[in-house]
């Protein structure tokens, strides 16, 4: 696992364009994560616990609302959060992949042109 020069098929993080692409990917990732974790805290710890007694004054069908959040709603929301995360992040990965491919493609084209001229 030592630091070594990139091999065939790998990408070189020392290239500023690639470093930038990685940086952008990471910031987007953190943003998605932050939003989803905020919803996680609001649904589970907020509606399910901290505001449960206040929400219990309202009803959802036969359920007091705070009780429903604690025993049903928050769990369903958790499942949806992970679904959204998987969809968003895998799409983010694809975009990132295409960006790196484009850089690689440009490099190959430039190298090819230089090779032809020699």
């Amino acid at each position: 696992m030592s630091s070594r020069a990139p091999q065939q098929g790998e990408i070189d993080v020392r290239d500023p364009r690639i470093a930038q692409a990685i940086e952008r990917y990471w910031r987007r990732n953190l943003r998605v994560m932050g939003v989803l974790l905020a919803i996680w805290a609001l649904a589970g710890l907020g509606c399910g616990v901290l505001f449960a007694d206040a929400l219990n004054r309202f009803r959802l069908g036969g359920f007091p609302l705070g009780f429903w959040f604690a025993q049903q709603g928050s769990i369903a929301i958790f499942v949806l959060l992970i679904l959204v995360y998987a969809l968003r992040l895998n799409r983010l990965d694809d975009a990132h992949h295409r960006e790196l491919e484009r850089i690689r493609h440009d490099d190959a084209a430039r190298n090819g042109a230089r090779g032809g001229g020699a």
């Binding site: 091999q7 993080v13 616990v49 007694d53 604690a70 769990i75 990965d93 992949h97």
Partner: protein, 610 residues
């Protein structure tokens, strides 16, 4: 066909299936043994994770806990599912990208310290053994209650089955067996719940049935429960925060369970078995979806059972008591000590009238027999001789039935078909065995991979490491079985606190290790020792030392949250004063942040060899 015959049939067929899968999934290399060759599809891994996660406690005890606690039971539901959100967003994809075999691998490599690796190994083994002892005990209890064999015989049968598929197939065998076990346990949980829901409310879907009105009198189920609870002196079923379960305690326990879930080694290791980072994310989604099927149904089962429990007991004379009561009275899970009027009175602590329903707890058959004889003498003599058994049991804290009875006896309460009752036995066994095998693999990999190969004998070849892995898992099965046959008193308490300890130790260290390139060895280790030390001290002090809950009134179950904050705070405060991680480690962190395999860095399949 009788219940017993059905039970033999279900248990026999399910065990046979597990063995066939084990034979088909046998492995020849360490990658297959520890991470199933990283070839498990996301859906199957999600199912296996769900079975791994849902233990005998989730299957048998959780609905009972909710049934007795009402609203506050929701903290288990939220804690044990909400943890997966943390796991999916903060840990799973990155640890998969890191690509080694175990959690101590990550801690040891990220913080470049053999000490850190060894501490992680010790924690992983400790948590896993306390957990697995409970599972083996669960196997024995299900066997003894449904098939009327001795608990010891039950544990030995369970051990033999796990031994075969764990040593033959390692993670691969375990994963595919867990997929089968998931189906057994989830159908055993859902079928009775659907049947009961339809019977009580006319709505088959339990999640809706719970919010519907009763067929019998048209009153909404939860309203009826609240009414009965008020009448009998129990605290309200749906109202938030009652007694010691105040806002801060419910909050802390929920959060401790969430962070603890994300820090438990046998759950984290599942995400090493999938093909890619992408699959790790999907796998977390499938896992929680499959888990939520049980966790969304358990609160409904709990409410239905609560109603049956109260209505079929309170105010009835001996001759009117249902047969399930007599069946389970023999096991000591439920007892009735009359005050002399010949009618059952089931009351909570808030009622003026005395409660007459108890459980045997840890009392032996002889002690319970004596208690009953003394109580009868006390009744017959009008209080002159003998002793009031109700007072004795109340002092021992044994008021009300055992919570395990809720899932085990509900199908009988609702008078469902014999085969459904038998299915519950097979489901309980599947839940216990699947969790036990996952934990045993963590123990095996901690000893054979982290301790033996990474620390003691790095030159060991593939064949030798596989042999060691198999020997250790075999030994671990035997030790776990012995712990199940002779359960040490501390086990049940420790399991409840394992989450707090995991939340205060592993969770912050791993999160900081992934998201910070600056936190070095010394701050992380200080945080881990400080957080875990504080949590362990507080738990031991208040459970054994009678220490008052001086920390904002937080009880020992929720104190892991404070330990976690101490851990994060210590690590972050010390970081500016200590050396940053080496370039190698910083490159490694860059690599796990990036999904594409940006070099220079580690190539995943070659990683374990360094």
């Amino acid at each position: 066909m009788s219940i017993k015959l059905w039970t033999f049939l279900f248990v026999g067929v399910s065990f046979g299936t597990y063995l066939v899968i084990a034979w088909m999934g046998r492995v020849r290399d360490t990658s297959g043994f520890y991470v199933a060759g990283r070839g498990v599809p996301a859906v199957a891994n999600g199912m296996a994770t769900a079975a791994d996660w849902m233990s005998a406690a989730s299957f048998i005890s959780m609905a009972g806990l909710i049934s007795t606690m009402g609203y506050a039971g929701g903290m288990y539901l939220m804690g044990w599912t909400g943890g997966y959100v943390l796991l999916a967003l903060l840990l799973a994809p990155y640890l998969r990208k890191f690509g080694h075999y175990t959690v101590p691998d990550f801690v040891g490599d990220r913080y470049e310290s053999t000490t850190a690796r060894l501490v992680a190994v010790a924690c992983a083994i400790f948590v896993s053994f306390t957990y697995v002892a409970g599972q083996m005990r669960g196997v024995g209890i299900v066997f003894s209650r449904f098939l009327e064999v001795d608990i010891t015989v039950g544990v030995v049968i369970g051990m033999a089955i796990v031994f075969v598929y764990a040593t033959l197939g390692g993670m691969k065998g375990i994963t595919w067996t867990q997929v089968a076990q998931y189906w057994v346990l989830i159908s055993a949980f859902l079928i009775p719940a659907f049947a009961i829901s339809f019977k009580l409310t006319g709505t088959a879907l339990p999640q809706l049935g719970m919010g519907s009105s009763l067929v019998a009198d048209g009153i909404p189920l939860l309203e009826k429960l609240d009414g009965l609870h008020a009448e009998l002196g129990f605290s309200s079923y749906t109202a938030a925060f009652s007694g010691s379960w105040n806002r801060i305690n419910v909050f802390c326990v929920t959060l401790a369970l969430m962070a603890g879930t994300a820090g438990l080694p046998h759950v984290i290791v599942r995400f090493y078995t999938v093909k890619s980072v992408r699959a790790a994310r999907w796998s977390a989604f499938w896992a929680l979806l499959f888990i939520s099927l049980l966790y969304l149904t358990a609160p409904a089962t709990a409410a239905f059972a609560r109603l049956y429990m109260i209505q079929s007991l309170h105010g009835h004379a001996e001759s009117e008591l249902p047969s399930w009561f007599h069946n389970w009275e023999r096991t000591g899970l439920i007892l009735w000590l009359d005050d002399g009027d010949g009618r059952v009175a089931y009351h909570g602590p808030g009622a003026a009238a005395a409660n007459e329903i108890f459980r045997g707890g840890k009392l032996g058959a002889a002690e319970l027999g004596d208690l009953r004889v003394e109580h009868q003498r006390w009744l017959d003599s009008g209080g002159a001789e003998g002793r009031d058994g109700r007072l004795a049991l109340r002092e021992l804290g044994l008021s009300g039935p055992d919570r395990d009875i809720i899932v085990l006896a509900t199908p009988e309460m609702a008078a469902l078909a014999d085969w459904i009752i038998a299915l519950v036995a097979a489901g309980g066994l599947a839940a216990a065995l699947s969790t036990a095998s996952g934990l045993l693999l963590v123990i095996s990999s901690s000893v054979a991979h982290d301790l033996y190969y990474r620390v003691l004998a790095p030159e060991a070849d593939e064949g030798r490491r596989l042999v060691i892995g198999r020997v250790v898992i075999g030994l671990a099965v035997v030790v776990a079985g012995l712990l199940g046959i002779f359960p040490p008193g501390f086990v049940s308490q420790v399991v409840a606190f394992a989450f707090g300890l995991a939340a205060a130790s592993f969770f912050p260290v791993i999160v900081l290790g992934i998201f910070s390139k600056r936190v070095g060895t010394i701050p992380a280790m200080t945080g881990m020792v400080g957080g875990m030390g504080f949590t362990a001290f507080y738990i031991i002090g208040s459970v054994y030392g009678g220490m008052p809950d001086w920390c904002f009134g937080i009880g020992p179950q929720g104190i892991g949250v404070v330990g976690m904050l101490i851990n994060f705070a210590l690590a972050l405060l010390l970081t500016p004063f200590s050396a940053p991680p080496s370039d190698t480690v910083r490159a490694m962190i860059d690599t796990i942040h990036e999904p594409e395999g940006a070099g220079p860095g580690l190539v995943i399949e070659a990683a374990p060899e360094r």
